[in-house]
C-alpha cells in the first residue's frame, strides 16, 4: 500500500468520529437537549483533561487495572495449561470438552451474585469474575492452536530425545503461540470490559464506580469521563499487546 493511499484511508476513518462529535456539539449547542442530559463535547473533554491531573482519579484507575490484570493473569495460567493439557492427554480432553461446552455459553455475569456471596464484596469476587470470563477464549484458542500443530514437529523432537512432556511445552506450545496470543488478546479486552461492569454492579472504587456515582448525582459530564477512559484504556492495552505479540512472534511468518 502506498503512503498516499494510507493517508486517505486514515482521513476517511477519522471522518465518522469527527462527524459524530460535530453532531454531538451541534445538538448540545442548539439547546434542543439540556446540558444536564447531553453536555457539550468541549465540556466533557475539558473535564477529562482536568481529571488527568487528579490523584484520586488515578487511584481509581490503578484499582481497576489491578483487578483487570489479576483476573487476566489467572485466566492466562488456567486457560493455557488446561488447553495444553487437553491436547496432551485424552483423559483430560474428555473431561475438559464437555465442561467447556456447558460453561462457555453461560453468561458468567449471572454467577457474580454467587461470587459475592462466597467471596465478599471486595477485590476477590471481581477478580474471579474477570478470570471466569477471560479464561474461555484463551482456553479454546490454546486448545485449537495446539491441536493443529504439525505432528511431524513432535516426532522430530521425540526422535531427538525430548521427553513427551517436554515436547508438549517446547514444541507444541511454541508452535501454537500465534493462536494462543490471539486468544489472550481477546481475553484481555474481555477483562477490560468485565472489570468495568463488575465495578458498576457493586463497588466503592474503580472506573466503573465513578460512572455509577456520577449517574446517581446526575453529573452527566462526569458520566462521560469513565466511558472515554475505558475506551482509551482498551485501545492502549490492545496496542501494547500487539507490540508484545510482534516481539514474541518475531520468528513466525507474517499473518493477515
Amino acid at each position: 500500500m502506498t503512503a498516499g493511499r494510507r493517508t486517505v484511508e486514515i482521513a476517511i476513518g477519522i471522518l465518522p468520529i469527527a462527524l459524530l462529535i460535530a453532531l454531538w456539539h451541534a445538538l448540545a449547542a442548539s439547546g434542543a437537549t439540556p446540558a444536564a442530559i447531553l453536555p457539550p463535547p468541549a465540556a466533557v473533554f475539558a473535564r477529562l483533561l482536568q481529571q488527568f491531573g487528579n490523584a484520586q482519579y488515578w487511584d481509581n484507575v490503578a484499582i481497576t487495572l489491578f483487578r483487570l490484570f489479576s483476573g487476566f493473569s489467572i485466566a492466562v495460567v488456567i486457560g493455557v495449561s488446561l488447553g495444553l493439557a487437553a491436547t496432551g492427554s485424552r483423559l483430560i480432553e474428555s473431561l475438559v470438552r464437555p465442561l467447556v461446552r456447558v460453561l462457555a455459553p453461560l453468561p458468567k455475569v449471572a454467577l457474580y451474585p454467587a461470587m459475592i456471596l462466597i467471596l465478599g464484596f471486595d477485590h476477590a469476587s471481581k477478580i474471579t469474575l474477570v478470570a471466569a470470563d477471560a479464561v474461555f477464549p484463551i482456553l479454546l484458542a490454546t486448545y485449537q492452536g495446539t491441536m493443529a500443530v504439525e505432528p511431524k514437529l513432535v516426532w522430530s523432537a521425540r526422535a531427538a530425545g525430548t521427553s513427551q512432556r517436554m515436547a508438549l511445552f517446547k514444541v507444541v506450545l511454541m508452535a501454537a503461540m500465534p493462536s494462543v496470543l490471539t486468544g489472550c488478546r481477546i481475553g484481555l479486552i474481555i477483562s477490560c470490559i468485565v472489570v468495568f461492569l463488575a465495578e458498576m454492579i457493586t463497588s466503592t472504587e474503580g472506573l466503573g464506580y465513578l460512572l455509577v456515582r456520577a449517574g446517581r448525582n446526575f453529573e452527566t459530564v462526569d458520566m462521560f469521563v469513565p466511558l472515554i477512559s475505558i475506551s482509551i484504556l482498551g485501545l492502549t492495552l490492545n496496542a501494547a499487546f500487539n507490540m508484545l505479540r510482534g516481539y514474541l512472534l518475531r520468528g513466525f511468518p507474517e499473518e493477515h
Binding site: P113, A114, L197, M200, L235
Partner: protein, 260 residues
C-alpha cells in the same frame, strides 16, 4: 470412555451432573449460608418457573433480547459485507468500531436511560449495540475472504454490484456470519442480564439482585441455574440451525467465545 463420549448430548449432561455434585460437596464442606447445597437451589426451580411474576420477568427479558438481536442482524450484516468488499467503507468504519469495541455496552445503560427513559427502548438499544459488533466483524471477515473469481464471473454474466453482494458475497460469507451470530447470541444474553443488573428495574438481572438483597440465597442460585440453562439451550439450538443452514461448510469453531 470413548464409546460413552460418542453418544450425542451425554457428555454435557454428565458435565452438568458433575458440576452439581462438586457444588453439593463444596457447600457441605464450606457450610456458609451464602452457598446453599445444590439440591436446595434445585428445589426452588419449580417455584420460580411457576410463579407468574418471575415468569413474566423472564419472558420480558427474552422479548427485549429477541428484538435487539434481530435489529442488530438487519443493520450489522449489510455493513459488515460492504466493509469486506469495499476498501473505503472498511476505512470509514474501522477506527470508529475500534474505539467502541472496548467500551462495555451495558455500561452505557445509565446514559441511555437518561435519554430514553428506563423502559424497553434503552434496554433493547443496549442489546442491539452489544450484538452488532461481533456480527459486523465476522461478516466483514467472511466477505473479505470471498473468492474474487466468483465475483468476476458474476460480473461477466451481468450481475450488478447490489445483486453480487446479495447473491454471491452473502451466501459465500454465510458460514462466517453464522459464527458471528452465535457469538452475538451469547452476547445478547450477557448484555441483557448485565443491563438489568445495572438498571435494576425489571427482568432476570433484577430478579437476581432482589433475591440477593432479601437474603433468599436458594432463589439466587436457582435463578443462576435458569440463566445458565437459557444460555446453553440457546447456544445448542442455534448450533443445530447453523448445521442445517451451512452444512456444506466446514465447521470452523467448535464452541462460541462470548465476550461482554
Amino acid at each position: 470412555m470413548k464409546r460413552l463420549s460418542q453418544i450425542p448430548g451425554l457428555p454435557p449432561l454428565l458435565a452438568c451432573a458433575g458440576l452439581l455434585g462438586v457444588w453439593e460437596v463444596a457447600a457441605r464442606i464450606i457450610g456458609i449460608s451464602g452457598l446453599p447445597p445444590a439440591h436446595e437451589a434445585l428445589r426452588e426451580l419449580p417455584k420460580i418457573l411457576t410463579d407468574k411474576e418471575s415468569l413474566l420477568n423472564i419472558l420480558d427479558s427474552m422479548r427485549r433480547m429477541l428484538i435487539g438481536f434481530s435489529l442488530a442482524l438487519i443493520v450489522a450484516v449489510p455493513i459488515g459485507l460492504m466493509m469486506g468488499r469495499a476498501r473505503l467503507v472498511a476505512a470509514f468504519f474501522n477506527p470508529l468500531l475500534m474505539i467502541i469495541y472496548p467500551v462495555p455496552k451495558a455500561a452505557l445503560m445509565p446514559l441511555i436511560m437518561l435519554w430514553l427513559g428506563v423502559g424497553d427502548a434503552s434496554k433493547t438499544l443496549v442489546i442491539f449495540l452489544g450484538v452488532s459488533l461481533p456480527v459486523i466483524y465476522h461478516a466483514y471477515q467472511g466477505a473479505r475472504a470471498v473468492e474474487e473469481k466468483m465475483l468476476w464471473s458474476a460480473a461477466a454474466m451481468g450481475l450488478g454490484p447490489a445483486a453480487r453482494l446479495l447473491r454471491i458475497v452473502f451466501p459465500a460469507a454465510l458460514p462466517e456470519i453464522m459464527v458471528g451470530i452465535r457469538t452475538g447470541l451469547v452476547l445478547a444474553l450477557i448484555t441483557m442480564v448485565t443491563s438489568e443488573m445495572i438498571a435494576r428495574k425489571q427482568g432476570v438481572g433484577d430478579l437476581l439482585f432482589n433475591a440477593l438483597a432479601m437474603a433468599q440465597y436458594e432463589t439466587v442460585y436457582a435463578t443462576i441455574i435458569i440463566i445458565g440453562m437459557l444460555g446453553f439451550v440457546i447456544d445448542a439450538a442455534f448450533e443445530k440451525l447453523r448445521f442445517r443452514v451451512v452444512a456444506w461448510a466446514e465447521p470452523t469453531h467448535d464452541i462460541a467465545v462470548g465476550s461482554t
